[in-house]
């Protein structure tokens, strides 16, 4: 009972926050009912996917302060588990998704133990390395389609297939990922004020102090890393059935890892709304910039330049991201 109450307890946010959040949720819920382009729909689904990745990252990266740049490997494990299960044994999504999450968690424990002996930049680099190594392995592994990857042929199934999550129209995917999004948000709301949540913030603040307060720092980080991993892996599974075509270069690339971390940091690492704000800003920017500038003017890559600029500006002025700016402003006004 207490757990449910804690999950639904948003009482420490100001009323304006909750009002805005509610308005956004209503908008998101109604969005498919208004006329929209297929491109806008795809962008919205990307937004949900990446805000969920960001939420997962936020546990270890935001609250725990461990800059993890290797989340793509768990996108890959989740996506490949679901894909392989479906194509080889016709195992539906709702079974393969938890299996993928379990595999991801196992892998996260195996590499998490040595990874968290490292700190700061060394940790970040090591996460990149593990992710790239796994990607390279998948690129030569015939069983999972090697470099060409795997693809679902939709005509083999009978959409709408709720078991395997094969649909013709994006609106189905939209509402399914929307439900995931709500669950993710509620979980994060529970997490941020849980014992582990506070312990992580204490670790981020000062590890020595954290240890003196009875926190097993190494284990707390590994546990949180597993939680982040589960998040990413589950959404990775969804990503696979939605995109229907996965290959290591795409699903597990360094770009994905960096984008995940970047969004959470841009929005505000270590806050509930941060990853959502970050995804809300970056994903539309990314897709529309590419659409408008990249393809038409032959300026491929200008979106990357603009991103880079945003990152530089944010990290120079407010390292705690967009939400950090809001909080700073509020703090000043209270005084």
């Amino acid at each position: 009972m207490e757990a449910i109450r804690n999950t639904l307890d948003f009482s420490d946010f100001p009323k304006t926050d909750l009002g805005v959040a509610l308005a956004v949720l209503v908008f998101l819920f109604c969005f498919p009912l208004f006329p929209h382009s297929a491109f806008a729909m795809a962008t919205m689904i990307q937004f949900f996917i990446f805000s969920l990745y960001g939420m997962g990252w936020n546990t270890i990266g935001g609250y725990g302060g461990q800059v993890d740049l290797g989340k793509a490997q768990y996108v890959g494990i989740g996506a490949y588990t679901t894909m392989v299960c479906l194509l080889r044994w016709d195992i539906p999504f709702w079974v393969s998704m938890p299996v993928g999450a379990c595999l991801s968690i196992c892998w996260s424990f195996i590499i998490g133990y040595p990874l968290f002996k490292l700190k700061g930049h060394y940790f970040a680099i090591a996460t990149i390395a593990t992710s790239l190594v796994l990607k390279d392995l998948f690129e030569v592994w015939k069983f999972v389609g090697a470099a060409r990857g795997l693809g679902i042929l939709p005509y083999k199934y009978h959409p709408p297939d709720y078991w395997r999550l094969i649909f013709k129209e994006d609106i189905y995917y939209y509402y399914i990922i929307f439900a995931f999004f709500i669950v993710g948000l509620l979980y994060m709301n529970w997490f941020r004020k849980s014992r582990l949540g506070y312990q992580l913030r204490s670790i981020k603040d000062n590890e020595e102090v954290a240890r003196s307060l009875g926190i097993n720092v190494h284990w707390a980080k590994i546990k949180t890393y597993a939680i982040a991993t589960a998040f990413v892996s589950i959404v990775g599974s969804f990503h696979a059935v939605y995109i229907k075509n996965i290959e290591p270069e795409d699903t597990m690339s360094l770009d994905i890892s960096i984008l995940i971390a970047l969004m959470a940091m841009l929005g505000g690492a270590g806050s509930l709304w941060g990853p959502v704000i970050g995804a809300g800003v970056l994903i539309p920017l990314k897709s529309y910039l590419k659409e408008w500038l990249g393809a038409s003017a032959g300026l491929l890559g200008i979106d990357l330049i603009i991103y880079g600029l945003i990152i530089m500006i944010i990290s120079a002025f407010e390292p705690r991201g967009l939400w950090g700016i809001v909080e700073k402003y509020r703090r000043r006004r209270r005084k």
Binding site: E2, N6, K193, S194, R195, Y198, Q199, R201, S202, K204, D205, N206, E208, V209, A210, R211, S212, L213, G214, I215, N216, V217, G270, R320
Partner: protein, 253 residues
């Protein structure tokens, strides 16, 4: 009964013995002062006891159990809490949240951790600051936050590292009362490192003096201030001339 026994503690950093064959005992309920010049190895001694790093040699027995080399979080679970000399307050935890982290050590339940934290905040006079960042507080309040956070873990032994440094006389007075209350009312055994002699000599039941990593004296405050070795190494002639009478002794000729 002894709560903490330290036997022949040695901690070497390279060729330097920061603690050299230090032995002492803390009785349950005692208030023990640890003094000595800068670099005498006081904080190193704390760090060894608290498990921040393992001693090079020697044995530490806490509450009847050999705890030599146990990591810090295990020591905390066994009832040892400490404060830090330099409290980094750059984090984004508020005062209330800081105290809450300590209170979460023995429970997973948020409501019980929270009510315990409320009690400690009230008792340490920090209630008005609860929603502020530690860095926004005056130094005296920051020091109280470190003590409050440590108290949240329900310690049997509390190690205080220079909690009176940088405070003005009236704040020192208040800190003194606070430490006494923790010791007497809550039955927490206290060991403190302090350079503010007024505080150490007034509240300690017993004082240990370190110099160059070695224990050079041990005894009740009024004997310590007259110990020629301590005067030479640390206190200085002037201090003793001005203060010796306060401790019931006559001024040294």
């Amino acid at each position: 009964m002894a709560l903490l026994e330290v036997h022949n503690l040695v901690k070497a950093f390279g060729g330097l013995n920061a603690n050299d064959d230090v032995s002492f005992v803390i009785e349950k309920g005692e208030l023990l002062g640890l003094i000595g010049p800068n670099g005498a190895g006081k904080t190193t001694c704390f760090n060894c006891i608290a498990g921040m790093f393992p001693p090079t040699s020697g044995r530490i027995v806490f509450d009847g159990e050999d705890v030599t080399g146990l990591p810090a979080h295990e020591m905390a679970r066994r009832g040892l809490a400490r404060t830090f000399q330099v409290y980094t307050a750059g984090g984004d935890l508020t005062v209330g949240e800081n105290v809450l982290v300590g209170c979460f050590m023995h429970t997973r339940s948020r409501s019980s951790a929270r009510s315990k934290a409320d009690g400690i905040l009230e008792q340490m006079g920090l209630k008005e600051f609860r929603n502020q960042l530690v860095s926004e507080l005056p130094v005296a309040a920051q020091k109280r936050v470190t003590m409050a956070t440590a108290l949240g873990t329900d310690p049997k032994l509390l190690l205080l590292d220079e909690v009176a440094a940088g405070l003005n006389p009236s704040e020192i007075e208040a800190t003194m009362a606070g430490i006494r209350r923790i010791n007497a009312e809550h039955g927490v055994t206290v060991m403190l490192i302090e350079h503010v002699m007024e505080l150490v000599m007034n509240i300690s039941h017993r004082v240990i003096v370190l110099d160059y990593g070695r224990k050079i004296a041990e005894g009740c405050p009024k004997d310590i201030v007259r110990d020629p070795q301590v005067i030479k190494a640390y206190l200085g002639e002037r201090y003793v001339r001005e203060h010796a009478t306060e401790f019931g002794g006559s001024a040294i000729p």
